[in-house]
């Protein structure tokens, strides 16, 4: 045995040992209730743990081989893991099949990565590759937009798809809004969902108490949320980045706790129901209109169909999201947008150039809050019910994960990340339980391997020279 091999084995053994120590109690002894009197008992999962630890040992060894440039041993180990994962032999649980199989895929992927990367790099350097890259970057957004616009009139548009579409677009809009704050201005806001809540409750209260309609409340909700953003932001935006993150988290929790406890106003944890949906030129989307109003079906002279309402909601959120996008893209090319990016890069230099850091951050914070307010009132109108449960910290974390994964500052990246993070778990229901685990791990991995996000490219906000075309340099 060569010393090199010995050190790889030692490293893998150490990793497996740490994994065993980590998992011994939390994974190995599953506590279960056994009636109220006896307290807790164990489901022993030590065999599962042992299988997982062995897989980790083999996987780590394979990864070490791969990063060592020894492709064949790595491929063999990966194939073994993959085969065990896919094999019909009975591992103690389906989860373990997945675990072992994915570990195998990881090892295989890692061992093929260098050649894949080289091939990819060469393809990008070739003239056709460059042209494709330029055309792709220019057209991807338009293709996605066209697909989003025509989706409801395709046969795909059943209840489930439209629901999902509305959900994804809501997160796209929130992601674009937060992108202004985090991606452009570099302010880590962990309480973004608070402004979403302000928007949602604004519409919920104004519509149920005063009978105001969706379109009248929408701008008001944005204004309220922006005001909240200004009031909360003013004292805290001087703080260092990480303190700001914690304070915004604190604000988010305060708003949620107030929503729970101020029962007179918000009806507390029970929430507010019976919120009217948005109308189209005064027509409601329901089977029967309330007195004095018409339904959409009556107005158009078509038979009533439940998906009409969903399609309408879909176009509203698509419109809102697009407005958000245009707004953000425009702002980025304006002095204020460049000042945001400059602040993100170096606040001290900004001060030396006479830029007021607090005001500049405040505009980003308030604009982000306003967009969340719009999205919030849409959410209330869609759900027809709001309660504090919808505005927990984890929602903020999901929106942040979308922005981080997409590449802070990248608009198209947010769309891809939203589809990935919101769409995939909804399509594959069984993944749902592992969704948040995967979110968290994705955030860690992205920070380590691609800190600029999936889409890392930054286009200048303006140019002096014409953009170089496909071939030239």
């Amino acid at each position: 045995m060569t010393p090199r091999l010995f050190s790889l084995l030692k490293d893998a053994a150490l990793t497996a040992f740490v994994a065993a120590a980590l998992g011994l109690f939390i994974v190995g002894f599953r506590t279960v209730d056994v009636g109220s009197t006896k307290g807790l008992a164990f489901d022993y999962e030590l065999v599962d743990l042992a299988v997982a630890v062995v897989a980790i040992f083999v996987g780590r060894l394979g990864l070490s081989f791969a990063s060592d440039g020894q492709r064949w041993p790595a491929l063999v180990l990966g194939a073994v893991l993959g085969a065990v994962g896919a094999a019909p032999v009975r591992l103690p649980s389906t989860f373990l099949h997945w675990f072992v199989g994915l570990a195998g895929l990881l090892v295989i992927g890692r061992s093929l990565w260098p050649s894949a990367e080289r091939a990819f790099g060469q393809a990008r350097q070739s003239p056709q590759g460059r042209k494709l890259g330029v055309v792709g970057a220019r057209w991807l957004a338009w293709v996605l937009l066209a697909a989003a616009v025509i989706l409801p009139i395709t046969p795909l548009a059943d209840q489930k798809t439209m629901d999902l579409g509305v959900l994804i677009l809501t997160y796209v809009m929130l992601g674009w809004g937060l992108n202004i704050v985090v991606g452009l201005a570099g302010l880590l806001d962990l309480g973004y969902v608070a402004f979403y809540a302000v928007g949602a409750y604004s519409y919920a209260l104004l519509s149920t108490q005063w009978g105001l309609g969706f379109w009248a409340v929408l701008p008001l909700a944005g204004a309220f949320a922006a005001t909240f953003g200004l009031v909360l932001g003013f004292p805290v935006l001087r703080l260092r980045g990480d303190y700001l993150a914690i304070v915004t988290l604190g604000f988010g929790e305060i708003i949620r706790l107030v929503l729970i406890n101020w029962v007179d106003l918000t009806n507390g944890p029970a929430g507010i129901g019976g919120i009217p949906g948005p109308t189209l030129f005064g027509a409601v989307f329901a089977e029967n209109a309330p007195p004095g109003q018409k339904t959409f079906a009556e107005m158009m002279g078509v038979p009533f169909d439940g998906t009409q309402r969903l399609i309408f909601l879909y176009y509203i959120i698509l419109g809102l999201a697009l407005i958000t996008n245009l707004f953000a893209l425009r702002l980025r090319r304006l002095p204020v947008g460049r000042a945001w990016e400059a602040l993100r890069e170096d606040e001290i230099a900004c001060r030396a150039l006479g830029i007021n850091p607090t005001n500049t951050k405040l505009t980003a914070f308030a604009i982000g809050a306003m967009l969340a307010g719009f999205a919030g009132s849409f959410f209330a109108a869609k759900q027809r019910f709001v309660s504090p449960e919808s505005f927990v910290f984890i929602e903020s974390a999901i929106i942040l994960a979308i922005v981080v994964l997409g590449g802070m500052g990248s608009q198209i990246g947010v769309v891809l990340a939203a589809v990935l993070l919101i769409g995939l778990p909804e399509w594959f229901r069984e993944l749902g339980t592992y969704r948040m685990l995967a979110f968290g791990l994705a955030m860690v991995l992205i920070m380590i391997f691609r800190p600029r996000g999936l889409i890392a490219h930054r286009a200048p906000s303006l140019r002096l020279h014409e953009k170089p075309s496909g071939g030239g340099g």
Binding site: A339, L353, G354, S461, R463, L464
Partner: protein
């Protein structure tokens, strides 16, 4: 020239950090259309003087009067107001560009306040009004002018962080100049430059003085730069001013020779 016409008047400036006295009762003046150099050994308090003038530190004692379009008492102003209203621009010892933004964008950010007004706090800009477009085009032209002067036109659309070191130094000066300052403070602009770049820098600084008519305040280690281009030299040592005058006088001043060469009595004699 009488004292009243001085561009900046530093009087009894004192800065303490806890028990440490970084600057002790320093007074000097810098005239408009002149290059004033502040020199001194490491730790003499030069950068601290700059940080007081540009509002990064609040002086413990002292008065800093700037005579630009009107009189400003800098010690009473917040950090960014000094750049915005009194129009004092500065560069940093360890370059502070916006590395991820392009060269051109760096120069556009420097014109932020002017452009903000033209864009009607972004409202006109969002609506795409002509008034803003004209202002933006003018700002780009100004930036192009500076890029020509520092020979970076071809690199305008590259990220500033990718430029070689010497180019970054020049760009930082151009960026400060794009704020249309009346006083330009440069913190060791020649540090790390090779002799050719250093000579180019001298030319640039002289042209800023003569062509743009801007007063320059300069911290420098490189004595050849100081002696060749400065009109007035202030020497600091251990936070005190030990000499002041035209370069040739300062060079012969025994206190200066002692501070630079002598570590003890023998050193001063030798």
């Amino acid at each position: 020239m009488t004292a009243d016409q001085a561009l900046i008047d530093v009087e009894h400036l004192t800065m303490r950090f806890g028990g440490l006295v970084a600057i002790d009762d320093v007074s000097f003046k810098a005239q408009p259309r002149q290059i004033t150099a502040i020199i001194g050994p490491n730790g003499a308090g030069k950068t601290t003087v700059f940080n007081c003038i540009t509002g990064f530190y609040k002086p413990t004692i002292g008065r800093l009067t700037l005579r630009g379009d009107r009189e400003y008492l800098l010690e009473r102003m917040l950090g960014h107001e000094i750049g915005q209203q009194a129009r004092v621009a500065r560069t940093f010892q360890n370059i502070r560009l916006f590395p991820g933004m392009t060269v051109l964008e760096n120069l556009m950010v420097a014109q932020h306040n002017k452009l903000m007004r033209a864009s009607g706090m972004s409202v006109f800009g969002l609506l795409g009004l002509n008034r803003y477009r004209v202002a933006e085009a003018a700002a780009v032209e100004k930036a192009r002018g500076w890029l020509e002067r520092i020979d970076l036109v071809v690199d305008a659309d590259r990220p500033a962080g990718e430029l070689p070191y010497g180019a970054q130094r020049r760009l930082e000066i151009a960026r400060a100049m794009c704020t249309e300052p009346c006083l330009l403070c440069l913190d060791e602009p020649a540090a790390g430059l090779n002799p050719r770049e250093s000579a180019e820098l001298n030319e640039l600084l002289v042209s800023i003085r003569d062509r743009d008519g801007i007063g320059v305040l300069l911290i420098e280690h490189d004595m050849s730069v100081v002696m060749r281009i400065s009109d007035h030299v202030v020497v600091l040592d251990y936070g005190r001013k030990i000499a002041e005058g035209v370069p040739d006088d300062v060079r012969r001043d025994p206190a200066v020779i002692h501070a630079y060469l002598g570590t003890g009595e023998e050193g001063a004699d030798a």
